[in-house]
Symmetry: C2
Subunit: 355 residues, 2 copies
């Protein structure tokens, strides 16, 4: 079958068949435009009959709105990001926006694919798991395009971002492990230049340092192979840790596998492991990982609300939004005698009960 | 900061600064167009200086090509689909196509979001994990838009599709479990109307039936809660199975967790479990799941090649592509004494050695 060229039904034809003005057809297919139910029904019937579909691309040139949000994301093997993407796509869809997906290589900056995103005249950009250079951040500002960093923050205050309170949650994890009587602490770090890694490490190490305790740090860099190697190097030491905090669940699960299946360590009797994200597999009974929960729905809600506010108002006042993360207590780490509370079928850590 | 209206730099301005024709600017930014390196460099320098970016949306109206591929996908908690999406986005990006993402609800048909996809004048559509009604399939044909079903097939021969040979792989799984001396077989089914579920069940049950063996079937429907319930119902029976094949790894992992942590069954001593997909967690040592491997890279390669052939040729000759799936043998199922071969650091099942 020969591919037809684009000679679709026009809005004039629909208007003629429906016996209405062309403007009525246009308003029928413009989200939020005023149109009487009776006229709308006439238009819809004619449109169905003729197989008419409004051309979103042409409309975007007229309205200067593409209704496309560019989303850059990577690390699909970390279950957190697919979950974010699913919720984000559903929420944008509900607002009649659509999601143009860009998968970044893992060097963590987005600059080289930025030209492509801009070509599509996107109405907004979400950068999840990647960072934006200062130069590009300024270019977006100049072009009037809202950008929200998701699970990443910029050094400057010019770029909007949505994160959990990484530093506070990491302090809570340190308190939890201290209350559980652990003595030798290790941190499996993500990429050094990722803001969430920096803040998680900072909160954890500062809390330990305040008690005069040191921290062994190894680099997992969010990568499977590097994390496996990092875990092996930890457990091969003369004084291996009895408590490990990994910057993401994705890495924490690998640390547990190395500890159990390569070093024969019993979890949590000989080793406690805590992660960050509370991804699906953290709840699987094979792992039962204690983890700082990032509330994906609330984080995506905040991201979409911030984008829409900037798009609708035409102003780019940047906001840095922080959402609390709660430590979900399962069985991968020894529990302190006090401070763990039960609600909604989950166990949580409430450090105020410890002090 | 006030949002600017779209008054971007024009190609005329770039041509003027570069001292070249407007057509030279256009050719510089058209993938595959002929342009001398010297002219190209002049244009790029002027474009950089002025902050010019070609408008992909406007270009799509001129060329009748949006360079957008609509992708509909669901089941993000099944690791197979995020992996597919990542590879698909990277491959399309390499060809200078972009991916407009639609996340379908889990009813399995895509009809209601189809109008939205069509509004963007996509050059092609990939439907992963969802099916297309016959009516819509015909509408795509009429509009000349290539559609490829990924990991799904249509009843008719009008729609292109890319799958592994589900029936053959399921027969191989039955042979493997028979060779391992199992006697009581169960199948944890996916959604009844999904083609891959039908074919996997068919291959498995027919092979058993040929030996005079019956099959217990329970419905997991690709859903976590339903799969947990289905597994419980199996292991609560008076004669529980000693071999379970789940239609996807995602469900097989849950079956293993229920067997071990709720029923205290030793795997593979008391129960063998086999899955389909070979997702990342299947290789994690906590599961070491024996699974029919779906080669994501090869499947996406075939999908993109098929789309590009149809887009470039302007013909929609449908093709149903089948790629072999190989049974990767790990430790979740009792191994037969013969038929398992080692290569590339993996163990595979070669049923021809059994017969």
């Amino acid at each position: 079958m020969k591919r037809k060229s684009f000679a679709p039904v026009t809005s004039q034809q629909v208007a003629q068949l429906a016996g209405v003005s062309q403007s009525a057809v246009s308003r029928t297919f413009t989200p939020g435009a005023s149109i009487s139910p009776a006229t709308r029904e006439k238009v819809m019937q004619a449109a169905r009959e003729l197989g008419y579909r409004p051309n979103a691309l042409a409309r975007s040139l007229n309205t200067a709105r593409s209704r496309i949000i560019g989303v850059v994301i990577s690390w699909f093997d970390n279950h957190f990001y697919p979950q974010v993407l699913e919720v984000l796509a559903q929420q944008l869809d509900a607002l009649n926006y659509h999601l143009l997906l860009f998968v970044e290589n893992r060097d963590g900056t987005v600059d080289k694919i930025f030209d492509q995103i801009m070509q599509y005249r996107v109405d907004g950009i979400v950068l999840a798991s990647v960072s934006l250079s200062d130069a590009l951040s300024q270019e977006c500002q100049a072009a009037g395009i809202p950008v929200v960093l998701f699970n990443r923050a910029a050094d400057d205050a010019l770029t909007s971002s949505v994160n959990t309170d990484n530093c506070a949650a990491a302090r809570q994890i340190a308190e939890f492990l201290l209350a559980g009587g652990h003595q030798r602490f290790a941190y499996v770090a993500g990429l050094p230049d990722s803001s969430v890694n920096q803040l998680r490490q900072q909160g954890f190490s500062e809390t330990l340092a305040a008690r005069g305790l040191t921290l062994q740090v190894v680099q997992g860099n969010y990568d499977r192979e590097q994390t496996l190697q990092a875990a092996r190097s930890l457990f091969n030491r003369a004084t291996p840790p009895d408590a490990v905090f990994a910057a993401t669940d994705h890495m924490a699960l690998m640390v547990m596998d190395v500890a159990r299946y390569e070093f024969g360590l019993a979890i949590p009797e000989q080793l406690s492991v805590v992660g960050y994200d509370d991804v699906g597999p953290a709840g699987w009974p094979s792992y039962a990982l204690t983890s700082a929960s990032q509330p994906v729905q609330a984080m995506v809600d905040a991201t979409v609300a911030l984008l829409m506010k900037q798009i609708d108002s035409g102003t780019l006042a940047p906001e840095q939004i922080q959402i609390p993360a709660t430590l979900v207590v399962r069985h991968s780490a020894r529990r302190p005698r006090v401070g763990v509370v039960e609600s909604d079928g989950y166990s949580w850590f409430r450090p105020e009960d410890v002090k």
